[in-house]
């Protein structure tokens, strides 16, 4: 019995409750009565994975189907991983304590480039060959989805099939396909998967490269393999499945609250933002449904907080009504409402104040850039006046803590823009001094810009690591302000993220070799060792700057070009041009269609419940 063996080793590891399952609302279906069995595998630790919304949706959705089941597995923390290897305990699912190898499908969620080494580590812990081509007839299919599937190529060597776009419909199609083709050979089954809309099977293509390292040709080897893979999209979110009885972790996890997905997509059009493209168009849920979802979720979980999740919750068309009624209904029993993504304007502060009737939180604003010029370049349609009036309103309403997020290394950035960040923070600090009795805490988070596929900046060079460090030094030297804390992202981490984010298939050997050298939990600073990757790049004869610091041209075949997000390349390029001209592009909800192509391309439409 695996559970008995675990009892012996779990006293030796940190946070053993990560590995014991049996949580409230966990679903364990009778194994032998199920036709296709899938395990959701999250390549980070339990507390991170259990905070992930997509996993909750798929878990509820698949388990609702009478013929299918889905269980869960997370990356064991290094202390546990080591013990599992020593004691020959394979990576298992938390529901039935079965090795991952016994499932038909193992589905990884790819949220972040620095978790890729954990995917390999988890496969290896599960005793499944890490390389797709080495898997046998009996091995499970290893599939992957999530935002990073929009550039699947760096993981093409390890993943049998990617789901691109909204997973709800595709995953059910995929499980039906697996059920239907059980008798066929693995290669036949793989080819059949490629027929499903939104599924990409990398083994069915061959790549050729030019002397300069760019892609010469991408060839589809089988008739089933489409030249371009179109993203799947749920056109009517309001009627889509939503899990109102999610698994409730015993451990404190990152997002330890009831989550309502109020809408999917964001139409603001920030030019650095990948999510703003790949989740288009905005599709809202109706306030009536959301209120019922809140009631049901609180009742089934006992959480004391409801989070209204989306890319930009203040943009939800019925936000006022929704917040007011949630606070009225659930506030008296001490249940709070959280707004995780607020814009830096007075309207958002008004919403936050509404929420504040129950519970004090810190306010977070993301001006992203320090000058109006640069904010126009990135199409962050927020003015200094907006930001200052938001802060004024926040201080007047009694907030004593504010977080501000900026990016360093955006295209066209100069020293003036760095000064702009410092000046803006100083102005906010001065405002606070005038308006607050006690000196408020101002926390400034600075991330390094990493250009992402499917954005207008996908062709742009990223700052080198030296440049990142210089910018950091400049801010630290010129931005000494009392009671203001600056917090920087790790430049080596951002650099590696940059390599992989716009990487091609050849990075597979780099990820493999880095993992073999010891890379895992790269997103955790205490475990990240850039040397593993530097050595692996060198061994593969690849130049990191080819991926990070190089400006790409319009004619270049980008590794992710074949993934059709629905937004046209012409639109992205035009947005890039407008960025360099400092021209902003308005939100199509307010100023009419801006021709991004999504609606006609995917046969969908903006779905705003409160009207345009």
């Amino acid at each position: 019995m695996l559970e008995d063996r675990l009892r012996r080793i779990l006293p030796l590891v940190s946070k053993p409750a990560r590995y014991t399952g049996h949580e409230l609302n966990m679903i364990r279906k009778p194994w032998n009565e199920i036709q296709v069995r899938m395990v959701f595998a999250f390549p980070d630790v339990y507390e991170v994975g259990m905070s992930h919304l997509g996993g909750k949706i798929l878990y509820g959705l698949i388990n609702e189907h009478p013929d299918f089941l889905m269980e869960r597995a997370f990356a064991p923390w290094p202390d546990m991983g080591k013990l599992m290897r020593e004691k020959n305990i394979p990576l298992y699912s938390l529901e039935s304590f079965r090795p991952l190898k016994e499932f038909d499908v193992v589905g990884f969620s790819l949220q972040y480039e620095l978790t890729y080494s954990n995917v390999l580590n988890m496969l290896d812990l599960a005793d499944i060959p890490v390389l797709a081509r080495e898997r046998g007839e009996k091995d499970p299919f290893i599939i992957a989805g999530g935002p990073n599937a929009f550039n699947p190529e760096p993981m093409a060597d390890f993943i049998d099939a990617f789901i691109i776009g909204d997973g709800e419909d595709v995953v059910i199609e995929l499980l039906k396909n697996v059920r239907h083709n059980r008798a066929n050979s693995r290669s036949e089954r793989l080819r059949s998967l490629a027929n499903i809309h939104g599924v990409y099977v990398p083994a069915l293509y061959r790549l050729a490269y030019q002397k300069d390292g760019t892609i010469a040709e991408r060839k589809s080897l089988f008739p089933e393999a489409p030249v371009r893979v179109k993203r799947a999209v749920v056109s009517d979110l309001d009627s889509a499945f939503y899990p109102v009885n999610p698994v409730v972790p015993y451990l404190g996890v990152i997002h330890d609250r009831a989550v309502l997905e109020v809408m999917r997509g964001c139409q603001r059009g920030c030019r650095f933002c990948q999510a703003g493209i790949i989740y288009r168009p905005v599709r809202e849920r109706s306030a009536g449904n959301l209120k019922q979802m809140a009631r049901d979720t609180l009742c089934s979980t006992g959480f004391d907080e409801i989070s209204l999740a989306s890319l930009s919750t203040a943009d939800y068309s019925a936000i006022d009504d929704l917040i007011k009624s949630l606070v009225d209904e659930h506030g008296p029993r001490g249940t709070g409402v959280a707004l995780p993504s607020l814009r830096a304007d007075a309207f958002s502060v008004g919403l936050a104040q509404e929420v504040q009737r129950v519970r004090k939180t810190t306010l977070t604003f993301a001006p992203e850039a320090g000058t109006q010029r640069l904010r126009d370049v990135i199409n962050k349609n927020v003015t200094e006046e907006d930001i200052l009036s938001a802060c004024t309103a926040a201080f007047d309403a009694g907030w004593l803590g504010i977080k501000l997020y900026f990016m360093l290394g955006l295209p066209t950035e100069t020293e003036e823009d760095l000064d702009g960040i410092i000046d803006l923070v100083k102005k906010i600090k001065r405002l606070a001094g005038e308006r607050c009795k006690r000196s408020p805490k101002i926390h400034v988070g600075l991330a390094f810009f990493v250009p992402k596929p499917h954005t207008p900046f996908q062709w742009e060079p990223q700052a080198s690591q030296d440049e990142m460090e210089e910018k950091k030094k400049y801010i630290l030297a010129n931005g000494r302000i009392k009671n203001v804390k600056f917090d920087f992202h790790h430049s080596a981490t951002s650099y590696l993220e940059g390599i992989i984010a716009r990487g091609d298939r050849r990075l597979g050997q780099v990820i493999l070799s880095a993992w073999r050298r010891g890379a895992h939990f790269d997103s955790w600073r205490e475990h990240f060792n850039p040397k593993y990757y530097n050595d692996a790049m060198e061994e593969a004869g690849l130049d990191p700057d080819f991926y990070v610091s190089r400006k790409r041209g319009w004619d270049e075949i980008l590794p992710w070009d074949f993934v059709d997000s629905g937004v046209s390349a012409d639109f992205l390029w035009e947005e890039r041009e407008r960025a360099y001209r400092g021209e902003v592009t308005p939100d199509c909800r307010e100023e009419g269609c801006q021709d991004c192509g999504i609606c006609s391309n995917l046969g969908v439409d903006l779905d705003l419940k409160g009207g345009h």
Partner: protein
């Protein structure tokens, strides 16, 4: 209205920490619809408090919880509401109302009973260990928190080995709280030093908690 509830923390959730247990109870009570008083302040919490910390890795047969109810609740109605929404591993035992001034569980409970299951093959050795410990004038262990050498003999109130068909159960009654307190890992260390290593223990749990007054032991539910 202040109530005291006895519950079982079952083996499947033995690895939950004290904080996890507080969270578990808050959520269980919120789901149940039982109205509990809220603390004041910006972060209102349900007014409930758990008894002495049960170490991570142990399950407990008779653990305790105090809470302050808002409104009129009968024992039957409370029980039927809560028992419908209990998470795996939790069972509710006896419960009763207690006078408002009753000392908090954390302060009142001063003795715990631990049990350790021992297979047949080790039972012989276990008898030796128990005799050895009983005869020892001092039992020196190195405390894990500050690496200090400490004599835990004064904190061991009773030690017994109960033989059964499958092997035996070692029962240790120890002091909790105060300078003589014996923590469970310290007990395990002492047993190992006296010839009973951890691999000889197939299971361990806390059997009961008591309020001890000289030679008398009463349950937290007794007056």
């Amino acid at each position: 209205m202040r109530w005291r509830v006895q519950y079982k923390k079952g083996p499947v959730i033995r690895f939950l920490s004290h904080l996890d247990m507080v969270r578990l109870w808050e959520r269980t009570l919120r789901r149940s619809g039982v109205t509990i008083e809220l603390s004041r302040g910006f972060n209102p919490h349900l007014k409930l408090s758990l008894g002495t910390v049960l170490p991570v890795g142990l399950w407990g047969k008779r653990e305790y919880l105090d809470l302050e109810l808002d409104g009129d609740w009968t024992i039957d109605r409370f029980r039927s509401h809560v028992s419908q929404v209990l998470p795996p591993g939790i069972e509710i035992g006896n419960l009763r109302d207690i006078p408002p001034k009753t000392p908090a569980l954390m302060a009142a409970i001063n003795a715990s009973v631990y049990r350790i299951a021992i297979p047949k093959a080790w039972t012989e050795a276990a008898f030796g260990t128990v005799d050895g410990l009983k005869q020892a004038s001092e039992i020196i262990i190195v405390r894990s928190k500050d690496k200090k050498k400490t004599d835990i003999r004064p904190g061991i109130i009773e030690l017994n080995l109960i033989e059964d068909r499958l092997g035996s159960e070692l029962e240790a009654v120890v002091v909790v709280g105060g300078p003589q307190a014996v923590r469970f890992p310290e007990l395990v260390m002492a047993l190992a030093d006296f010839g009973l290593p951890e691999e000889a223990m197939t299971d361990y749990w806390r059997e009961a908690n008591y309020i001890r007054d000289g030679g008398t032991f009463r349950s937290p539910l007794e007056d």
